[in-house]
């Protein structure tokens, strides 16, 4: 049951996949789990579709966590989001509206090979685990492998670097699988949310250049409201703005690709903290981090549902 699974612990890939399958069986009125492909090492890439089952055409929101393997708070939040959605559907009018009117496609662990490797070998691994025939180094930065100004500023051509862009765009099967899914469903996916750590920021396009997006007004307002709501929970401050200015310029990332490919509202969260623990955010901070982030995501979703074209 939902109450048996401990959402305030970090879970291995196997545990997360078992949890997904369990929900698929026990909450079939709201959840459907399916695979969109296989990772480099052959692991299934599971997506969890969340929403009140309906045959009517509905808009959708895509959420992915764990593009970078060592950012464990991301997958923890993806699981938390699902739990909260199911627990509060009956009692929270906003959640009820969200699940009645939208489908959420949630990928709790994007980089399954890297995540597994960070559990078993190297806690601070970032990239995928693909092999390179010419170099001894493995892996590609899955957030530099998308076809949007690919391998330009902020990405590396060297396979041993942590921001290696890959031999070509969408070389990583994980990136390819998600890109194919988003292309196929782009007409009804209205928002793209990607969860990373750490910096305490809410970012929107562009990341690859210094420029203002055409729908800046709605996006900026949504971001402002989201960080204000987030701060109201525990007083934690998040910065927000275009990624290129707020964080740094990086090319080939998923948020920019999603935006360029017709998803009008694309955001990337950099969750807690700002360096005291860094990637080693203690398990006792999972609950406050996820609680405040939940409010931010609900805010963004409701704003986009009600206020944005």
């Amino acid at each position: 049951s939902l109450s048996d699974y401990n959402y305030e612990l970090y879970h291995s890939l196997e545990e997360i996949q078992s949890w997904m399958q369990h929900l698929n069986q026990t909450h079939s009125a709201f959840i459907q789990v399916f695979s969109i492909g296989r990772s480099y090492e052959g692991r299934p890439l599971f997506i969890l579709k969340l929403g009140r089952k309906s045959r009517a055409y509905r808009r959708a929101v895509w959420i992915d966590c764990g593009i970078h393997a060592r950012e464990w708070i991301g997958p923890a939040f993806c699981q938390w989001f699902v739990r909260e959605a199911l627990l509060t559907y009956k009692t929270d009018p906003a959640m009820r509206k969200m699940l009645n009117h939208l489908d959420f496609y949630i990928m709790p662990v994007f980089n399954v090979d890297g995540y597994h490797f960070s559990w078993t070998h190297d806690r601070f691994w970032r990239k995928t685990r693909s092999r390179n025939s010419r170099f001894r180094c493995r892996g590609v930065d899955a957030n530099r492998n998308w076809k949007v100004k690919w391998c330009d500023e902020g990405a590396s051509v060297h396979p041993c670097d942590d921001t290696y862009c890959g031999p070509f765009p969408e070389s990583e099967p994980e990136v390819k699988a998600v890109a194919n899914f988003l292309r196929k469903h782009r007409k009804h996916i209205r928002a793209y949310l990607s969860f990373h750590a750490y910096a305490q920021m809410l970012l929107y396009p562009y990341s690859y250049k210094y420029a203002t997006i055409p729908n800046f007004s709605c996006v900026e307002t949504a971001a402002y409201k989201a960080v204000r709501a987030l701060r109201s929970v525990h007083g934690v401050r998040y910065r927000y703005g275009p990624a290129s200015q707020t964080l740094y310029v990086s090319s080939g990332n998923s948020m920019d690709w999603a935006y360029k490919n017709g998803i009008p509202y694309a955001f990337a969260f950099e969750l807690r903290d700002t360096g005291h623990f860094g990637f080693l955010l203690p398990e006792m901070l999972i609950k406050p981090t996820c609680t405040e982030t939940m409010l931010a995501v609900k805010n963004i979703t409701m704003h986009l549902l009600q206020k944005c074209p």
Binding site: L9, R123, F124, G154, S156, D162, G275, G278, L280, P282
Partner: protein, 99 residues
Amino acid sequence: HLYNNRYAGDKVIRLIPQTEEEAHALKKMYHQLKVDLWQPGSISYVSEGTVTDVHIPQNASRTLLAFLQEAHIQYKILIEDLQKALENGSSLRTQRNRR
């Protein structure tokens, strides 16, 4: 110990280069020591005023700290011992399961 105690003695250090010369020197040192950069995402981003957090193995930390002191580059040790931080942040049950 988790991960066969491989992170024992490793540190995470925060540096903010105050000048472009400092940034250039740090970048060179990062390349030489093959540091694990926690932020920013790439050594190429390091410039004057950039907050850089580096994870440095125990055997290289003495070299880096000596360099920083000689170059009068200010730094702050965020995590004194990465293995301890790793184990303190996980519940005993999680650690037992993972072992």
